[in-house]
Subunit: 582 residues, 2 copies
């Protein structure tokens, strides 16, 4: 069936929407693909929905191809399973909670680990029923603090989530690898530049976890990669420990008055003025900055944590949050300082932290033998030549500093460089966490009950529409790859005269009969308006039936390259079919 | 791709689920199509989801065929538009309400008139853009007081809702008729017995409104039909007014003591004992029962309403609720009686109601000249020969009595008979209600702003799965029509031996290659288990590859008729293709 612009429910906008921060958002709204209903909540108009359905179909095909079975869970869920795993609390304000007319706690599912675990528990009793992989393409809800960029980070969004169930780790690894391969096929077919990054550092004892990030300057996530092929999100990176240093000729630690030097800059200036080094200037990297936070555990208990890192580094909030999760980071307040008189604000040193009994973890650069200029636990005083392992004890390391270009990859594959990306997929070996919490056990080959081991895998389906739009749009509008375009071909009739309208109608009908999806611009509008709309809408191929028809020709335009060529009307059908490879 | 029972995520149950009230619910659960997550909230397992998707595809095709355009709205919606139309309040406890992290009121959409109206307002400015019909296949939420019968009345369910936008009534009528025709095609294709009933009585001044009811003894809705072709739901019926009676020889009204006669039965007994009629016994139909309620208006005001009807009739709560909507019916309490001393509980009469200033509406059988035995407004007293129009005034009629077989159709087409049905579709000329409330106007041909007129149309998509299951299942399990079956054919291999397994595999592969969807039962299980499962699952055609193969035959079984016939293995493929008409 030919779709006609005169009938299609679309109104392109000549102006950018006021709230559009990124190109994909701007063009999806201007081209009439989506409309905002509330912050982070969008409607899909006919063109947008066609693209969304195409993404869904690609994901469905590749999931089916690895033997995953499609199911569909409700979005509105009872609270009990999420209370059993503690996520009812852990999700904090991100969870949409409600109460039904009977007073039962309910939630809008942010992800469905609990529900799938319970479904497998309901249906499976033997290892013979495993391996099992289930998936759904379903609407998820997260009450994001800062929904942004249209459908790139929404509060209601479509996700493909799947879950694998295996009797042992070898099975889980196989399920994980099958998903990894399927995701590569999905993202290759969607057609954007992506990178697979480690999302979980081995150092934290976690299982395999990788993210598929669309490489994009507008991405919210920072990731790193090395020339040797290492790639990870910043949360997963553990910089290697620096080499130990021989400190045998470092003089004894010495305390100095450093009036009014609560910041690294003022401290370095004071040091160079009051007790200059013989060999070179003091620099920020010579200082050991001790930062203190409170950690609130899920059970409500709060305890302080101090991190010592070179003064030229900052703590990365995202990395810190990931490292201490599920605990939450809170500020260490003036009242907290009053509770710990051993700590002098702005002048905290290792000795004060030890006296106060505060847990103290060090940056990987702070290793035995390194000497530091750091706080002397008295306002207005610092200490120099304080040697790690000699003058204070190293109880452990925690790498949560902001990463920099040139930091070394953990696997020795060279210096890291930073880039930005958008999380499009996540594959994760969950292990037995949910199966244990909810009692999912099956009989193994020996007839013994054994806890099932699970994987969890997600693709942002609605987000993919924005990511592909972002990766492919240009300064004229959307510019879809053939795999996702709402229509294969747009036929634009320009100029007056029955011959033009008739030729355009016939070409559109012939294309339609050949299995090509066609959008026919049959409106009474100027060629300029029609060309502009065809560019904004982003159909990959456009056939213009207009002035050239007088010489028996039509024009085939390629949206991406902008190239146009004249072909005889009689050749238009085979030429277009060749171009779009049907 | 062949689906294998050894791999399929399904576990059939030998026992009925405890909460299953109707056959469709029982079998959909037992056959592993759906699973309960919370009251009125279900998950779709692979087999169920296949059927759901088939229903969706049929609905989508027929909606596209009438030029309706598919969009998709969020389920999570801002409250403002629903406050503007007052439905935020009117929906009462049926609406799932929540508050987001910023404190904004939100809701889970029970239906989307407001949102579609706003979308049209955002995109349309001229009558030239009309007629316009938009639809979505989307998940809806209603916090039903009594969710029941599995997915027949759920709290989360899939609905196709569409909305038409026209510049005038003629356009609306055309859009309405196009939907009516599309719905007939949809329900014919789904394959169940349905009836189209009036859902809105002309007497109430409403626009066209019809429901498509699946005829089912387990239906929640009662409808009526006449031999002359009239059909309506009970809310829409207005019984014709009875013929007026000449009361010139009825004696004057007379008061009688009727001690302890607060009910119709006790009253009739007392009357026959204390003041017998000369011509015949007093019967319940001679009495005029006056029932009093409170009506709570949406603005919170409450006022009483009395209904007078023959004593052998009861008030139908559903009809009353529909008649007074959007007001809600509440009980008239002891305290209310104290406020109206003119009303004697159990002995209310027209005089007392008039004295109390209570609005009093009469059943269509209470017409001028009819004489009644009714309350005398004093405890223990009734009055006889109280003639309507002579002894008390008729201020209006309201037909909210429980209907009975034999009541007359409003259009004179004969006596009504009652039946039960399940609402599957509803088409409704909304008119300008929402367009006015939300300001949807476009320029008409004269360049004047004109309010758009709308229609609203719904199909219960997930409910259709249950309705078809209900209409087609038998005492062995589900029994799908070909249009909805999760698989076209099930191939069951029974008995040992490689030849059997290989022949079954080959037949399944050949069918698959011919475009038939195949479920192959390749499990190591007894023939009895396999046959029972194949019956429960309800695939229309089953091919058994088993003992008969020794003679070169396989058995083709028809699930509905139970008929089985042997055919040579070599003929199985064409025979099956003929049977399923591919």
């Amino acid at each position: 069936m030919i779709t006609r612009m005169s009938h299609l429910f679309v109104r392109t906008l000549r102006e950018d929407p006021a709230d559009a921060e990124v190109p994909s958002h701007r063009w999806l709204v201007r081209a009439g693909y989506i409309r905002r209903v509330a912050p982070g909540i969008y409607s899909w108009l006919p063109l947008g929905l066609r693209v969304l359905h195409r993404v869904e179909e690609i994901v469905r095909e590749e999931m089916n191809a690895i033997g995953a079975q499609e199911v569909l869970f409700p979005a509105l869920l009872p609270a009990e399973p999420y209370k059993a795993t503690n996520r009812w609390t852990e999700y904090g304000d991100t969870l949409f909670r409600l109460v039904d007319r009977k007073g039962s706690d309910m939630l809008l599912g942010p992800t469905h680990e609990e529900m799938f675990t319970l479904m497998a528990k309901d249906q499976c009793s033997s290892y013979k029923e495993l391996p099992l992989t289930l998936y759904q393409i379903q609407i998820k809800y997260r009450d994001e603090a800062r929904p942004r960029a249209g459908i790139l980070r929404g509060r209601e969004f479509v996700m493909k989530d799947s879950y694998s169930f295996d009797i042992d780790k070898a099975g889980l690894d196989a399920s994980y690898q099958a998903h990894r391969a399927a995701y590569i096929r999905v993202f290759d077919r969607l057609g954007f530049d992506y990178v697979i990054v480690q999302a979980n550092s081995g150092a934290m004892g976690g299982s395999a976890s990788e993210e598929f990030l669309a490489v994009s300057p507008n991405g919210e996530d920072t990731f790193v990669r090395s020339p040797g092929g290492y790639a990870a999100n910043v949360e997963a990176v553990q910089r290697p420990l620096a080499a130990e240093v021989d400190a045998s000729d470092v003089p004894a630690a010495q305390k100095h008055a450093t009036p009014d030097s609560p910041t690294i800059d003022t401290l370095v200036a004071q040091a160079n003025a009051l007790f200059p080094r013989a060999d070179r200037q003091w620099v920020a990297h010579d200082t050991l900055k001790n930062v203190i936070f409170n950690l609130r555990q899920p059970d409500g208990t709060v305890e302080p944590l101090a991190i010592g890192l070179p003064g030229d580094r900052e703590v990365d909030d995202t990395r810190l949050a990931a490292a201490v999760s599920p605990a939450e980071v809170e500020a260490f307040s003036e009242e907290d300082f009053e509770k710990f008189p051993q700590l002098a604000k702005g002048y905290i040193g290792p000795a004060g932290l030890k006296a106060a009994g505060v847990r103290y973890l060090l940056d990987p650069e702070v290793v035995p033998g390194t000497a530091w200029l750091t706080g002397a636990d008295t306002a207005g005083y610092h200490v120099i030549n304080l040697v790690a392992g000699r003058d204070f004890q190293i109880d452990g390391h925690l790498d949560v500093a902001v990463l920099r270009d040139g930091d070394q990859a953990p696997d020795g594959s060279g210096p890291l460089s930073l880039a930005r990306g958008i999380e499009m997929g996540h594959i994760f070996e969950l292990g037995t966490k949910y199966a244990e919490a909810l009692g999912l056990k099956v009989l193994d080959a020996d007839g013994k009950l054994q806890t099932v081991t699970m994987g969890s895998y997600g693709i942002g389906v609605s987000r993919a529409v924005a990511v592909v739009a972002e990766a492919t749009c240009d300064d004229k509008g959307l510019c879809w790859p053939r795999s996702l375009a709402p229509f294969d071909v747009m036929v634009v009739a320009t100029g007056k005269g029955d011959e033009i309208a008739e030729a355009a109608e016939k070409l559109a009908a012939d294309l339609d009969a050949s299995g090509v999806s066609v959008l026919l611009d049959d409106r009474k509008a100027s060629p300029g308006v029609k060309f502009k709309d065809s560019e904004i809408l982003g159909t990959p191929t456009c056939v213009v039936v207009g002035r050239a028809l007088a010489q028996g020709n039509v024009e085939i335009r390629d949206r991406r390259s902008g190239r146009a060529r004249l072909v005889p009307l009689a050749d238009a059908l085979p030429e277009v079919l060749t171009e779009i490879e049907i």
